[in-house]
Symmetry: C2
Subunit: 468 residues, 2 copies
Amino acid sequence: MRKTALLAALAATALPFSAFAQGRPAPAPAPAVSAEVAALRDAALKDDVAYDIVEGLTTEVGPRLAGTEAEARARDWAVQKLTALGFKNVRIETTPMSVWVRGVETGEVVAPFPQKLHLTALGGSGATPPEGITAEIVYFPSFADLQRAPEGSLKGKIAFVSNAMVATQDGSSYGQFGAARFVGPGIAAQKGAIAMVIRSIGSDHGRGPHTGQTNFPKGVAPIPAAALSTSDADNLSRMVARGQPIKLHLVLTPRETGQHDTGNVIAEVPGTDPNAGLIVVGGHLDSWDLGTGAIDDASGVAITAAAAKRLLDGPAPRRTIRVVWFGDEETGGAGAAAYFAAHKNERHDLVAESDFGADRIWRVEFNLPDSAKPAGDRVAAALAPLGIVRGTALGGDGADIALLVKSGVAAIDLNQSGTRYFDYHHTPEDTLERIDPEQLRQNVAAWTAMLAVIANAPEEIGTTKAKP
Amino acid sequence: MRKTALLAALAATALPFSAFAQGRPAPAPAPAVSAEVAALRDAALKDDVAYDIVEGLTTEVGPRLAGTEAEARARDWAVQKLTALGFKNVRIETTPMSVWVRGVETGEVVAPFPQKLHLTALGGSGATPPEGITAEIVYFPSFADLQRAPEGSLKGKIAFVSNAMVATQDGSSYGQFGAARFVGPGIAAQKGAIAMVIRSIGSDHGRGPHTGQTNFPKGVAPIPAAALSTSDADNLSRMVARGQPIKLHLVLTPRETGQHDTGNVIAEVPGTDPNAGLIVVGGHLDSWDLGTGAIDDASGVAITAAAAKRLLDGPAPRRTIRVVWFGDEETGGAGAAAYFAAHKNERHDLVAESDFGADRIWRVEFNLPDSAKPAGDRVAAALAPLGIVRGTALGGDGADIALLVKSGVAAIDLNQSGTRYFDYHHTPEDTLERIDPEQLRQNVAAWTAMLAVIANAPEEIGTTKAKP
């Protein structure tokens, strides 16, 4: 067997390479893919609906920060679009949230090498006075170095953590290196820092800084906290390497604007079996304010709606497919919390979220009860011709579906390839140009196949052993 | 002969493909490359001096707009660096110039699809009132469409030209599509426009706008003129395609700050023959203010100085090599004009400028008098092992050397590959990250070989038939 053929066989059977290397027996044959599922899947490889949604949302609405009037415009746009597509029970469910908005944001090295820095405030950042602050930096190559800094050692200083994230296909480097953003400013504040700058949590080498939420512990007053572009952070690190003290001037004037509405937009493909549970698929409608939210997450709402639309246009499925475009995924998850509070007592058979761009889906992972495992096998078989491998970890990722998954609802993850996602994530560069129409169509085909199998599965889909 | 071998042979002989296709005779054999030249060239493939200069200038000085204190700091930095490298007669020659500086610059679509636009003022742009202007756009797909607009038809409007430049290896698309920037705002002003926005003259698909000088005809008051990022321009074009009138709000507050000094930094490798003419090589020290001027043109000053340094460290060449780091190439060429005024009566045997980034040199072109043609053949032979083809057009490109070339000084162009240069040119993205150290070294090797041949050429190098 030639090596490429061996690798293809391995991909098709989704066994780790070591299984063959150790001479284990071949796996059980995959179930046959029904002609209906295959036809739906293959037709979706010519889909135009998903691109139309991404193009429309980024062009006609653009950035849509949670709780702002732009997000409200996006909800109105969504209702119009989903209604035009023929979905049933299209509606908005609003909920109040605390809203944070960006202000002025400038930064510069004052000494010894004066030059401007490209930076952006992190969500939840505190503000400097309008005239800004000037202070010396304390340099930490890694988040762990910041954690080890003695109490009080940052008094009057600006902390600078420069850890560099490198792209991974599964996005796992985000969780690890992202800590500098998620909780770094809170830690720096507790050690006396008057502000913090981080190297953007991103895999690019450009000037567009990556924003994103940071969270301060209860009782810790938010300090000004900003992400430098990776290029600016590396420049600042080179200055640090010269050995002289470095002074920064920062002006960051974000502010809290109080309580405003966010909301979820909901649309349905009605099912035929009133006793079957709901299938919830979707993504989030809100975006960060720097880009136009193409890969995060116009593509997610577009892919899931385009796939559901393919079932809408055919024979009614057994289970109702509910498309949910969540509000406020980015700054706190108020939309997801509101959905769970309002709908947790309805029977949900499965949830799945698309929130990792629109590059090709390379892997599927499941969290299904034993009763539904055969349906999972049929999903994996239907996805294999799209080049999708079956992973071994438990599915159920996605901030918007976390509460449902935790409550025991089954989940399937269709994992997009993340090798370039963090070049653009939360930056001004998250725009329509980042969408590859061919890969977007592969996404729609995968979601269509998954929905076609699960929505019509004759098996009962009960409660899972929830993820911890 | 296999096709790849045929192509390699063609590259080596620098004959157009059609020459072989038509069965013409083989060219005369190339001259042998002297062992000294080959050794200098090959040692330069391990050069670290050029990278050190680019890294230092971008880190310790950063942006250095012509006529500003940042450009003055760059001159001081340059004197220190060139002196430390051992060059002789290191000095600054200053000259006054009119200085334009950037102010506030924001833009947004007001209706029908409100969102912010990433833009930057063009050099020489006029200013809006501090509160900005709001007006409808008139859309022109190309510069020619703007030219054809009737007199007075833009009264009270903002002109928008969206022509899209595509990268070319020789950079020729810049000249063609750049007209929208070079002279477009002046034309729009003459037709009554109150402002103009263009799609950035660049080959990227990102959010970093490309600045650059625009020139208004005598007697035409500058109007506010800005470049949208290519991504924003394409978004605006998609809005235009929806068919509704589009209103923009623009705030651009650049201003003229009066007369300030720019200057050239000069350093020499003294020659042994007092009767031989000078060889002038260099690039420009100033940069636009958005990036740190790595490819435009820290790399040019670095490559030429690093190559000259290799001759400085060996036996003294016959001809004096004068390294000139010009001031104000970007906004008007005051440095080049001052050099010409001060030095035009000295005997110059050859000029050559590096101002097209640091990707690999792919072509050499000559403008030599007949007396020096054998030296040109030896240069071409010494460059061929670096993969460099001999072009057929007349050399002598480069804004800083144009006056010397016009006066009849011989010239050699070492053309960098421009396939990604205009992704970054005049944008915030022109930073150290754009420098590929390996390709930078190939540049140094090519310049070293050229200098080694020409500086020691026994031939007289007289006056050329200057380019028209």
